[in-house]
Amino acid sequence: MDAMARPKRKPVRMRGRSYVAFVFCPAVPILGWLEEIDTTLRQSPGFFVGKPVVLDLSAVDLSCNAIAQLIASLEQRNIRILGIEGVDAARLDPSMPPLLTGGRNCMLSSSEPKKRESRSKPSSLLLDGQVRSGQSIVFPEGDVTVVGSVSSGAEIVAGGSIHIYGTLRGRAMAGINGNPAARIYCQKIEAELLAIDGYYRTAEEIDARLCDRPTQVWLEGDIVHITPLN
């Protein structure tokens, strides 16, 4: 019996990854183009350090020698070429960077962090005045506050809680995005429908003794509680 097990060959694991590379398009005269590069470098010396750079030679017709010279003069400026495109493979010698194909253009975005945008989005909505019959206020992003009454036939739909500093005569639906902690507050309750996180109570199920006083509506388990606020 052969006790020796053959060592299993481990497959080489390879992953794809994409990077954004700067593409240089040299133009004739090459010396003039190099001066432009120098000007850029003088303004911001470390601009190309550590960035992959690809040389696109489709705009010029250079011999193998001339290409080698160009690469050398870029290297003198601390710019290392990752690959070359837009030229016949026969003009490149093996010591040069490889020929690349299939590049796609993309926008070069500045790397500054975008903090402002996320902060400007409001998480509450304030309505100054009556909400009239037939109006529907839908605000899934957060709380809704109404300084006034909500008429019969109007509805307020909020992702968070609903605060009404008048009489609630219409429909109020809080916590619509699955937020059972949302609540409904109003100065007076004559609501047609109250709902929190999908659990609802209709006008018939609201205790008449609660009318005419400040009220809180909240959810416990799957029971909608309607209680006076004081």
Binding site: Q135, G148, S151, T167
Partner: protein
């Protein structure tokens, strides 16, 4: 400076046309140059209330379509030289009204009159939205009952969002006119009280018009109630309302039931 005033309600049968005629006639009597415009295409009534139904030749739609010019379609009242009527078409439907057409006519009327009073059709469709579209002020006619109040609330919401003024970020000045106020039923608590109506609608009160046979009597003879019998209760209420529209301060009286001597002796309630 011409003012465009829309008389609107949402609900039908609450007294828009009666109120348009009464307010228009009173303002004209006060020396203002007034045109009342019927927007109820297909169901016009304002010509009847003003007693001008036999003199209609051209109408609003004819002017919109260029068949007639405005001066041919305007009908001057026989009793008040300051009062004019622009009748609606009875044979068309409301789709014949276009926004450009209404805009053009309202702009032309603004150059000729002090008050352009638009009698809106019931509902919230095209006719009603076009009647309020160019309004500077609005009279919302409401009966003291829940369905009428809710419909008025809907209309107030539209006045705050669908009018040219609202779209420019301004406000249409709104006035609430409570009509068909039945003093006896109010005393028995069978109607919404004025306070209830005001609390729900949160709109300044222009006047309270009592329910009265005088209104029907006046419309039967084709006369605005204020012209037919200026001393009747509804006429006095409309005259006060028109004075408030002109910016006067007139104390508001909630009508109360007057019991006759016999009723009192017999302990009867006024019906």
């Amino acid at each position: 400076m011409a003012k465009v005033l829309v008389v609107t309600s949402g609900k039908g049968g609450v007294g828009k046309t009666t109120s348009t005629a009464a307010l228009g006639a009173t303002l004209a009597q006060m020396g203002e140059k007034v045109v009342v415009v019927d927007f109820d295409v297909g169901l016009r009534n304002l010509d009847l209330i003003l007693g001008a139904e036999r003199r209609v030749v051209f109408d609003f739609i004819n002017v919109v379509q260029g068949v007639a010019n405005l001066s041919q379609a305007l009908i001057r009242d026989k009793r008040l030289e300051n009062l004019w009527l622009l009748p609606a078409s009875q044979t068309r439907d409301k789709d014949a009204l276009t926004e450009e057409g209404v805009s053009k006519i309202v702009a032309e009327l603004r150059t000729k009159f002090d008050w352009i009073i638009c009698d809106s059709p019931a509902g919230i469709e095209r006719g009603a939205t076009l009647a309020m579209r160019y309004a500077d002020e609005a009279v919302i006619v409401t009966n003291p009952e829940v369905s009428s109040v809710r419909d008025s609330d809907r209309i107030i919401g539209m006045l705050d969002s669908k009018t040219v003024k609202a779209e420019q970020g301004e406000q249409v000045q709104k006035h609430l006119l409570v009509t068909r106020f039945d003093t006896a039923r109010a005393a028995r608590g069978e109607m919404l009280s004025i306070d209830d109506v005001l609390e729900i609608l949160a709109t300044p009160l222009l006047g309270i018009i009592p329910e009265s046979q005088d209104v029907l009597r006046a419309s039967n003879v084709g006369s605005p109630v204020t012209l037919n019998d200026a001393r009747s209760a509804p006429a006095r209420a409309y005259i006060d309302a028109a004075r408030r529209l002109m910016g006067e301060t007139v104390p508001m009286m909630v009508p109360v039931a007057r019991k006759g001597l016999m009723d009192r002796l017999l302990g009867r309630r006024a019906a």
